[in-house]
Symmetry: C2
């Protein structure tokens, strides 16, 4: 399976790391991926039609924080040229989400790859949140896979489950806790910290961004809801239109009051169908201790899926890390391979 990877941040590097030290006897060895190109946003790119030495690329990049002309496989062309003209089976899109640019440039990259007849696997939520309908139509037309298990809940099989296990059902409602920063901030407030201290803790853990408002004001959750709504409930929502509770000073105060009466406050994302219309909301919600969502803290997350034919199904993901996001991508690659859509080729030895 020949792979072009766009993005080489934490997730991209983790994928490279896993495939660099992949032992012979795991199920992953079935994949035999050959990386023919790796593109970073601002720190160069590497390409080799016959397969890059993955471990060596990773070591070079981690040492120099960039790919430059001193590296044997340095590539001077643009990412658009690469997506159009290189020969590969699957494009992995793990670059950073840009909400203000409505998922661009990733939307364009994915469009070009699909137009070239390549399968696409994403961890970047942007294209699925902002342009799922047209991208999935294009993938259908080109008869290629467009998979994105890692976009919500870091690789927990939310979409695989719905596709394989709820076939006869129509999803009527989804709710969940999808954002780690707000979990950590709420847990901190519960332990008596100020909101500022708790936000600082989340930043120190590397969970919250320098600007934590994307998480605290519900943007991250709204984008994930858009992905879930578009894929599982047939919507075509603009994430910017989803109502969000912002993290005003009243929120920590509400949280403190809730904790006193044995309740938890969590940032809960909800989608529900009512009189034929689908509604979205991101809200700081009080939950009783007996609610399974109350046990979700730190980087853990949770989703409840309701359907017209079965009882609610809740999935909890306990303390995921980067490896989970990477394995979500790998699961998608294995799905493509098991569908017989890509023939494994022998990897170039490092």
């Amino acid at each position: 399976m020949r792979i072009l990877m766009i993005g080489f941040g934490n997730v991209g590097q983790k994928i490279a790391e896993i495939f660099s030290k992949q032992p012979e006897d795991t199920k992953l060895s079935l994949l035999q991926p050959v990386f023919i190109g790796i593109f970073t946003a601002n720190h160069g790119a590497v390409v080799n039609d016959r397969g890059l030495p993955l471990k060596n690329c990773l070591e070079f990049y981690r040492k120099h924080k960039t790919f430059d002309a001193s590296y044997a496989h340095y590539f001077r062309g643009t990412v658009i040229e690469a997506i159009r003209s290189l020969v590969y089976d699957v494009m992995i899109e793990v670059s950073t989400l840009s909400i203000k640019d409505h998922g661009e440039p990733a939307v364009s990259y994915v469009t070009l790859a699909l137009e070239a007849g390549r399968h696409v696997v994403l961890a970047n939520k942007g294209p699925i949140a902002f342009r799922y309908r047209e991208l999935s139509k294009l993938a259908d037309k080109k008869q290629v896979h467009l998979l994105f298990e890692s976009t919500v809940m870091d690789g927990t099989p939310v979409f695989s489950l719905s596709k394989a296990g709820l076939i006869g059902c129509t999803v009527t409602a989804i709710s969940g806790i999808f954002n780690s920063t707000t979990n950590i901030v709420m847990d901190g407030i519960r332990r008596g910290k100020s909101a500022e201290e708790a936000i600082h803790d989340a930043q120190a853990l590397g969970i919250a961004e320098a600007d934590p408002r994307l998480d605290l004001d519900g943007w991250d959750c709204a984008v994930k809801l858009a992905v879930l709504g578009n894929v599982l409930m047939g919507t075509d929502i603009n994430p910017a239109k989803i109502p969000r509770d912002e993290f005003t000073p009243v929120i920590p105060e509400l949280a403190r009051q809730a904790f006193k009466s044995g309740k938890y406050i969590r940032q809960v994302g909800k989608i529900w169908r009512e009189h034929g219309k689908v509604y979205f909301k991101v809200a700081y919600s009080p939950l009783p201790e007996s609610d399974p969502f109350s046990s979700v803290s730190g980087t853990s997350s949770a989703i409840r899926i309701e359907t017209d034919c079965m009882c609610p199904q809740v999935i909890l993901q306990e303390n995921p890390g980067l490896a989970d996001t990477a394995y979500g991508i790998i699961n998608d690659l294995l799905t493509i391979q098991s569908a017989g859509s890509a023939i494994p080729v022998k990897a170039i030895a490092d």
Copy 2:
């Protein structure tokens, strides 16, 4: 899709009910099932090669509690003759589990159907708990499906999830709460009832059997663990060999003490791999309130799946009923259909 159904108890009747009133516009209408035979254990059978009038069969059976010679489609032959000689695509096995007979006669029925080249879908755990290895080999040899989503957690997509969403992973441990009767008994004890009163409540709800020991002494849980171990961890265990905590008078006492210190006692089933061997256990275990398993009560159940490559995944099923078991079966039928293995034929109108 032509169907032969073995068993017409609560689950079999629920399936018939769903397909009898299936509206035109649901995803289920894709199936267009034609039931060509329905067999009960001790109350007769009905057969029609061109398709039984399902609603009419259900009404007759519910009124008379039996199929007899007064009914137009009454069948005088044996179930073994029917499995061997009738023409159908899928056999649904929803008869009652017999632990003391090691899953028989269902094991023989499933074997005969597979040998005849038919797909098999089960809610009856027996064949998968006692003879999975040989049955799955036979299904592979005959290139037919052997599916059983409803055997554990009433249709919650445990097996579909593992198949579609944890492809690259090896399961290292499974734990869960799988038995409703023990949940209800423990909840009753927590509310101050005696064990006897709590057991009576579970019987009054129709959850516990007349002899509740199969549940309380862990047999039901052990059989489900055998299914999970055989399918997800490659074991070939005899359920009778799984160590089980029995419900001795000390258990209610332990439960009362645990509740006083803010803990819950639940019947937890566990499978884990250690030094290359796989171990099984059914035990009454104290759980802290923060454990998501503590929120599982009544007919709800829970499973935690651990793998070598991702963080633990927990699935909670909230208050399932008969419809969930029936939809697990229907999901399996849809899986077979979407694999292109059975051509839908027009159903006979009632």
